[in-house]
Amino acid sequence: MNWKMAFCAGASALVCVMGAAHAQDTFKMGLEATYPPFESKSGDGKLQGFDVDIGNMICERMKVKCVYVENSFDGLIPALQARKFDAINSAMNITAKRKQAIDFTSPVYIVPIQMVAKRGSSLMPTTASLKGKTVGVLQGSSQEDYLKKHWATAGVKVTSYQDQDQVYADLVAGRIDAAVQESQTAMDGFLSKPAGKDFDYAGAPLSDPETLGEGTGLGMRKGDPQRARVQAAIDSLKKDGSFSKLSMKYFKRDIIAK
């Protein structure tokens, strides 16, 4: 009967801890830890990543204890509504469709979408500069929507690809003149590698809330009174530069939404 005793003791201890935590005020955040560098699990099973650090900073500012609840990404919104946690903090893009179901804080950061072209080609991400040129993009991505909507209609040839590596291959081979993708993906998958040595970012990140989204924010239940507190914490962390510093640490550039 020893194990049963141990279990009971453990369970009561757990209840104690939870009770104590409750007294200390907790804030529960839901995430799916399979999307590095934003959220993932380290070798010893601890949560880590950009979103986790951001969440911890928000909780610290709100003087509450952060509790993370893991959930599959497509089940995050239902779980939020079922009150399994108070906010979604899982690199979730703010979109009109999701806004119908839940509220969001203001955008915390924007994963930048940027064009890559041959160094010294003087191509810029504008329809004037790209007229008659061919631009490659990943099929089914939000940047494909952007290119189809704004560039393909203005004389730029947009070629969609099955996977991102094929885009880089054709960029090197010269089949396409430029490629549009997430800045970080371009850096990790291409620009930092030998094949990408003659290529560089061309121009500033693209921006278009309708196709590219407004950015990534924390999702909360509609009408949740806690949202004002969370928003205040985010605003102050943006203002004092804590978020920007964290972004520099992770991405070597500031992707925090202004």
């Binding site: 099929q139 991505s141 969609s160 099955q162 094929q166 089949r175």
Partner: protein, 239 residues
Amino acid sequence: MTVIETLQTYWQAYLYNDGSQMSGLAMTLWLLVLSLAIGFAMALVLATARVSQYKALSIPVRLYSYVFRGTPLYVQLLLIYSGIYGITFVQKTELLGMFFCNGFNCAVLAFALNTCAYTTEIFVGAIRNIPYGEVEAARAFGMSWFTLYRRIILPSALRRALPMYSNEVILMLHATSIAFAATVPDLLKVARDVNAATYQPFTAFGIAAVLYLVVSFVLVYLFRIAERKWLAFQAPAGR
């Protein structure tokens, strides 16, 4: 989004245009027609070479057919699209560079070479199945090699090959669904787009499946008419 709403939003992309270029069913059919036409014409020549008694003619064709029937079409497409264009010589030669730069050309070339290999074998089988008496009679009549093929062997072989060839055409229709690997926006690519936009895979791919099915049905029907017309001599007698 219901099926009806998806259809209302994307029917143009599914059928013929995705807003900037030809796409969907029209692109699939265009690929199919072009590659079948090229493959058929080449197969006629190659099949006669393959049955030739001259080894210099038959061995290269056997080798070609062995290579193209022995490797997956997908690999052939990638080799032609990515592999060949990666060769510096091809890029530097103006005509070759222009041809291989275009993904559509690469797709048509891969499909045509592949279907040609299979079609050649089908024709070879049909040619060898011609009753020897017919050939002998033609020879006795004093026909030259060319006339013999034109008047006796090819007309008869092509008729006999119809059922097998209809099968190859249907398989080719299905094979075009890999064209997007060469950035050609065929029917399946549009289905992938719709899936990405609506998160409704069953609807998105279901519509594509129905369209493929309709085309298959039409093809089967056309071949049935053709068989009734040209294979009438093989129909059971006494009707």
